[in-house]
Symmetry: C2
Subunit: 324 residues, 2 copies
């Protein structure tokens, strides 16, 4: 077999790069002229790209579209908004370009992050970590009585993919009642799927509304005034999908009125939020700066996931996390 | 059957009291002359107590010892230090007094609380909730790389009872490797039990050391300088047992040196800690004010647990959570 050329614009530590180089050998790694700082930043048209058989990272859409050689592109995020266009899909299909993403890599950290939010909320960690109340005092009794166990609570999950699947697995020991909204149910979901029409009553019964929706034309401001109003008073809202899926002005109002009991957001629109953004001062609004997918040795995890798929590619087996 | 007199010094909401009254009828509830504010505060010698067949709450040791009528005492905490003396045990045994506690009620909230600590630590919530770093920035990469997933990590649990059992169940989906130290193994533990001699190597391999030890003569300052030194550098220490089981001076030093990566404490000695206590300013030390056992409707949960045991008592069946 002729040596393949694998283009990588993924910023990697020395150890992760060695893992990648050793893993693809005897095939060849090639790099962009100017490595980008962020994996989501746009890189410029790159002459090196024209030689690539495979791309690993966040290759520029224009580079991909003008390549007549690229056979497989593996992207290092779970989201793939900028590739998710009719033009790109048509081009990929017509030239037999396979596209995979890294959703498996992010599923566990993202699901854990939501879970960390849910338990921090349930055990009132933000208030408890600041409190110095005495055992048996009125403040102490109030704090303890504000705690809510997960057992027997209801959750609605918006968007059902790899993250939701992990989350369901994690929540099982707590006897939670869960349903999910998925635009195109596949029939293999381990919890009941509700349709768009069934969503308002599901929201009305949920203690926890967990938004994992990706960013696309259908999801923009999906959590709008109407859907917030449909939620049970005091419900807790979580977002680890994309910030664009929420009408933030409506969310701020729902937090101020207390209709939404608390919001735990890992994503916002824009990111980061300006220091004076109304969400920052809204009551019971807790924001992490898009760190849900993070983990120690994230680069190694991404490389291992790519290499696993690379072995499938070499023997012509179906690729994991295939999105096109 | 003659109506039984059930003494209750448990502070209860109206709805919890109604639940209790309805649940024991036609048997009679009797109350102390002066209800105590805290369930752990000492009540005075109480004339009403001498009529009691059953006590539910935190009855005074002297009251219990001088009663020749009391047949069963159900205490509303999991800890029972002040009853755990040779004098009390001998007296209880000689007069056939059964003693039960409420460990089942506290197992789930306490296990969830530790779990909330573990996930908040793993996902760097204290730092992430304060950060406003931009996607792709150096601070952002550092924060994401500081996150540690639970998968495949090692934990040592100190003290194996109802809480540990719940915790093991909750941690199962994360593929954690767990061992526990239990002074008197019963042989039915779902994870390996280590002896006192095997504890130092177990501590040396653990990413998480979870202390659930009760307060007794054997456990005082169990987490001492030597055992802290035996831990793996950077290990995370959790305490939801009792504050007296830790040499806090040694813990402060271990936090300052970084040998202990972080401490998450729901219990301290004393409680609350003075505002200027060195633990309060130690790096990566996070303290909640003994709220781990709390839950919405805690009183109802305690009453339900008592009533369940009361039905067992009436038909002479073995009592749950029996400690003497």
């Amino acid at each position: 077999m002729k040596a393949l050329k694998i283009f990588s614009d993924t910023p990697l530590s020395d150890s992760a790069l060695k893992l990648l180089r050793d893993g693809v050998a005897p095939h060849e790694l090639i790099f962009p002229a100017k490595p980008s700082i962020s994996v989501l930043a746009k890189s410029h048209l790159d002459p090196a790209f024209t030689d690539a058989d495979i791309a690993f990272g966040q290759p520029d859409v224009a580079n991909v579209l003008r390549s007549d050689r690229l056979r497989w592109m593996h992207i290092t995020s779970a989201g793939f908004t900028r590739y998710d266009t009719a033009e790109f899909r048509t081009a990929a299909a017509s030239r037999g370009l396979m596209v995979t993403n890294s959703s498996t890599v992010y599923a566990e950290p993202c699901a854990e992050h939501v879970f960390a939010f849910m338990l921090a909320q349930g055990h009132c960690l933000p208030a408890a970590l600041k409190s110095n109340c005495a055992f048996g005092s009125a403040a102490w009794n109030e704090l303890r009585n504000s705690c809510a166990l997960l057992r027997d609570q209801n959750a609605v999950i918006l968007g059902f993919g790899a993250i939701a699947l992990k989350l369901v697995e994690m929540l099982r020991p707590f006897g939670m009642k869960m349903v999910a909204f998925r635009r195109k149910p596949k029939g293999d979901e381990p919890i009941p799927i509700v349709t768009l029409e069934q969503l308002p009553p599901a929201l009305a019964g949920a203690d926890h509304v967990i938004n994992i929706l990706p960013d696309n034309a259908d999801s923009t401001r999906f959590i709008n005034r109407e859907r917030l109003a449909a939620m049970k008073p005091g419900a807790i809202f979580y977002n680890i999908g994309r910030g664009t899926t929420v009408d933030q002005t409506a969310l701020v109002q729902a937090l101020h009125s207390g209709h939404v009991g608390a919001a735990w957001l890992d994503v916002t629109d824009p990111e980061p939020l300006p220091g004076d953004h109304p969400l920052r001062s809204a009551p019971n609004c807790f924001i992490t700066p898009h760190t849900a997918g993070g983990q120690h040795h994230e680069g190694e995890a991404l490389v291992r996931h790519f290499l696993n798929n690379f072995r499938h590619f070499l023997r012509g087996a179906p690729l994991g996390d295939r999105i096109m």
